[in-house]
């Protein structure tokens, strides 16, 4: 009954054209059957994998799905980034028949990206076999609260879990690596070993500057924010040597080449994605693949063959211009995008959206923590857009690169920015979550692609 009502609600919202209907079925089903998550999550024959962290959840989940698929599993995911409880329930409800049984349960793998604050109450109910923790950056304080409390919540959650999952932990992020101390089972760490990938200087948006013991963490070098080669003089905690490691990283404007080592195996990954943050996502996915029994060679092949996740470095061709879409949610993520864009070493045509919806963060202060000053001298043309276009224009103005145009509406902003991009050129669109959903739909429609809830199915 709960399942049927949930599915009906999903169909109804999709027919009414009100967004993808990716959360409402979950809301209906959850209200009708509170034990639904437990009963559905227990069914996949290959168990459940959770993916959490501030940045990279959707992409990492997407890569693990490709790996699982190649290994003959049927991944069952909440692919559209609907990562709160009701999004998960929706994914499970959609996969189940009217009898409450998941189709092909024996071969399926539950694979869920979970919002960092939503994970603790869901963890014991999902009982994951593998739990991936990517990173912990400052993100939307109006919604999540302070990062200390998120990390403390994860620790408590792991300390009380009955059956211990394999933990996939980012060795380079001190607050993630510390979770190994409360692990009840196997831990697989991942990280970047190539020091040439380090930043020349620390960024402003570095958050986890304090060790679990309270002292200040020391960094010998950082790859992004507070992530890097760290140790604590006070208590002796130090970055563990990553078991899945990027031995050598070569970043280019369009892709990355990564020498990956996992145990005794080594392989070269030609990653069709830009930026060091994409390398971390791939390493996390390979480590998760290892926990699921997939060989390094198979994981690498699966990642090389898959395209980008929804709205994450996706490319379209519109009116003879390449349009790339970058999702920016927080200072750390935006800094990585700035770095990736500048690595192209050409003059940029940029359309930047700042929205202030609940999913974007109603507090737009965070743009002051991103190093937008770095854009100065590298941007040919800038259009600011979104519900808080004026705040973003002011931020760029203070950064020394005022926009040519400031336009609130999505269509008008896209028209202006595309019109100013020369034929054969590239327009890079950087957008917060709800703005990305909006602009991607318009871009995809003009490029002749399907809307996101269709593409995700």
């Amino acid at each position: 009954m709960a399942l049927l009502a949930g599915r009906a609600a999903g169909e109804a919202t999709r027919r009414l054209g009100r967004g993808g209907g990716t959360a409402l079925p979950g809301l209906v089903a959850r209200t009708l059957a509170p034990g639904l998550v437990e009963s559905l999550a227990a069914q996949p024959g290959h168990g459940v994998v959770t993916v959490t962290g501030t940045n990279g959840k959707t992409t990492t989940t997407h890569l693990i799905a490709a790996i699982a698929d190649r290994a003959g599993m049927t991944p069952l995911t909440n692919r559209t980034g609907s990562n709160l409880e009701r999004g998960l329930v929706t994914a499970l409800v959609d996969a189940a028949g009217a009898d409450g049984r998941i189709h092909d349960a024996a071969t399926s793998l539950g694979l869920f990206e979970v919002d960092e604050a939503a994970l603790p109450p869901l963890f014991a109910r999902l009982r994951p076999r593998v739990a991936v923790f990517l990173n912990l950056f400052r993100d939307q304080l109006d919604r999540y609260g302070e990062i200390d409390s998120v990390a403390a919540g994860w620790s408590r959650m792991l300390a009380v879990i009955g059956t211990a999952p394999v933990l996939i932990l980012n060795a380079d992020d001190p607050s993630i690596a510390a979770l190994a101390e409360v692990a009840g089972g196997e831990v697989i760490t991942f990280g970047v070993e190539d020091r040439s990938a380090a930043l020349p200087e620390a960024e402003h948006a570095s958050d986890a500057r304090f060790c679990a013991c309270g002292a200040r963490v020391r960094h010998e070098a950082v790859t992004m924010g507070h992530v890097g080669w760290w140790h604590c003089d006070a208590c002796g905690r130090t970055r563990p040597t990553p078991q899945v490691a990027a031995r050598r990283v070569t970043l280019s404007a369009e892709s990355s080449t990564v020498e990956v080592a996992s145990g005794d195996d080594a392989a070269t990954l030609r990653l069709p994605a830009v930026g060091l943050y994409s390398v971390y996502n791939a390493l996390a996915a390979i480590a998760a693949g290892r926990a699921l029994g997939v060989s390094l060679a198979d994981s690498v092949a699966a990642i090389e063959a898959t395209g980008p996740a929804f709205g994450r470095q996706e490319r379209f061709t519109v009116d003879g211009r390449t349009v790339r879409i970058w999702l920016a949610k927080n200072p750390a993520g935006l800094n990585e995008i700035v770095r990736a864009l500048l690595s192209a070493n050409r003059s940029l045509h940029l359309l930047a959206f700042l929205n202030d919806g609940i999913q974007d963060g109603q507090d737009v202060s965070w743009v002051y923590d991103a190093d937008l000053e770095r854009f100065a001298g590298h941007v040919e043309r800038l259009t600011c857009a979104g519900t808080r276009a004026d705040d973003l224009a002011l931020r760029f103005h203070i950064a020394g690169r005022a926009p040519e145009e400031t336009i609130t509406g999505t269509d008008a902003a896209l028209d202006a920015a595309l019109g100013a991009t020369p034929a054969g050129g590239t327009l890079d669109i950087v957008a917060t979550y709800t703005a990305m959903i909006d602009v991607r739909e318009v871009v995809a429609a003009r490029a002749g692609e399907r809307a996101y809830w269709e593409a995700a199915r």
Binding site: E146, I147, G214, D363, V364, D391, A393, L394, R395
Partner: protein, 261 residues
């Protein structure tokens, strides 16, 4: 924008900005440097963090907000520097203390366990953690300040603690939309001589030029005497962002309906 002939140099001290920057208070220093350049004021900024000595003199002091743990980390050292900071305030050094920095510039903060974290008592205010069941004060906030020509100030607030003014303390502003110091008495922040404390971030200075210019002028007066003035130069980006944020606050934040001022 043409830089006017130089009006002089102000010495700005940014306190603990690597620790107390939880709500992008860094934007305040960026905006100050940008605005000062447009007005023809040079800025000599020094960043003072844990273990660093305060410079001998300052015309403007900035301190931002931090998480509870970060506030605890700086509290002891800040208290040891309290005497000098209070002396500066008596000497009309301009100051802006935001959120957690505002709390620590008060007398004390009593946390949820009843433990008191001492502040420097520059402002006659005290702050208590919210009782169980009370929510944080989170959201857009719009206030009217009677201080100088500051007027309307808009920002975002995100604090659990409730701050109460002592008998002699003057509020920085009156709340129109949002919570302010405690959500109950309609006051926002505190003012003592040229020192301002507030819960508003967003960051607060970039889009509130009235407040930014007030602080710049106070800093110039501290350095060069009471005749020092700045000529307000319009900044269309700041004005538009201000107006947009005001519209958002009026639409989205609760209208304050208390009576006490």
């Amino acid at each position: 924008m043409t830089a006017a002939s130089s009006l002089g140099t102000i010495r700005v001290v940014s306190l603990y900005d690597d620790v107390m920057n939880v709500y992008a208070d860094r934007g305040n220093l960026l905006a100050l440097q940008h605005r000062a350049a447009a007005l023809g004021v040079s800025v000599e900024a020094s960043r003072v963090s844990l273990g660093d000595a305060l410079p001998a003199e300052a015309d403007l002091v900035l301190i931002g907000g931090g998480q509870d743990r970060e506030q605890r980390r700086i509290a002891d050292e800040l208290v040891r520097r309290g005497a000098l900071l209070r002396e500066w305030a008596e000497d009309d050094v301009a100051m802006l203390a935001v959120c957690g920095g505002f709390q620590l510039f008060g007398r004390w903060y009593r946390d949820a366990q009843g433990e008191e974290i001492p502040g420097i008592g520059l402002f006659d205010v005290t702050t208590v953690a919210p009782p169980p069941g009370w929510t944080r004060c989170i959201g857009d906030v719009l206030v009217q300040s009677p201080v100088g020509a500051i007027g309307e100030v808009v920002g975002f607030e995100n604090h659990g603690g409730r701050t109460y003014l002592g008998p002699g303390a003057r509020p920085f502003a009156r709340v129109e939309y949002g919570f302010g110091n405690n959500g109950a008495d309609g006051t926002e922040g505190c003012v003592y001589r040229q020192a301002l404390g507030t819960y508003l971030h967003g960051s607060v200075l970039p889009k509130n030029l009235g407040l930014l210019d007030h602080l710049l002028e106070a800093a110039l007066r501290h350095r060069y005497g009471p005749e020092a003035r700045i000529e307000g130069v319009p900044d269309v980006y700041a004005a538009r962002a201000h107006d947009a944020a005001v519209a958002v606050a009026r639409r989205r934040a609760p209208r304050f309906e208390g009576v006490a001022r």
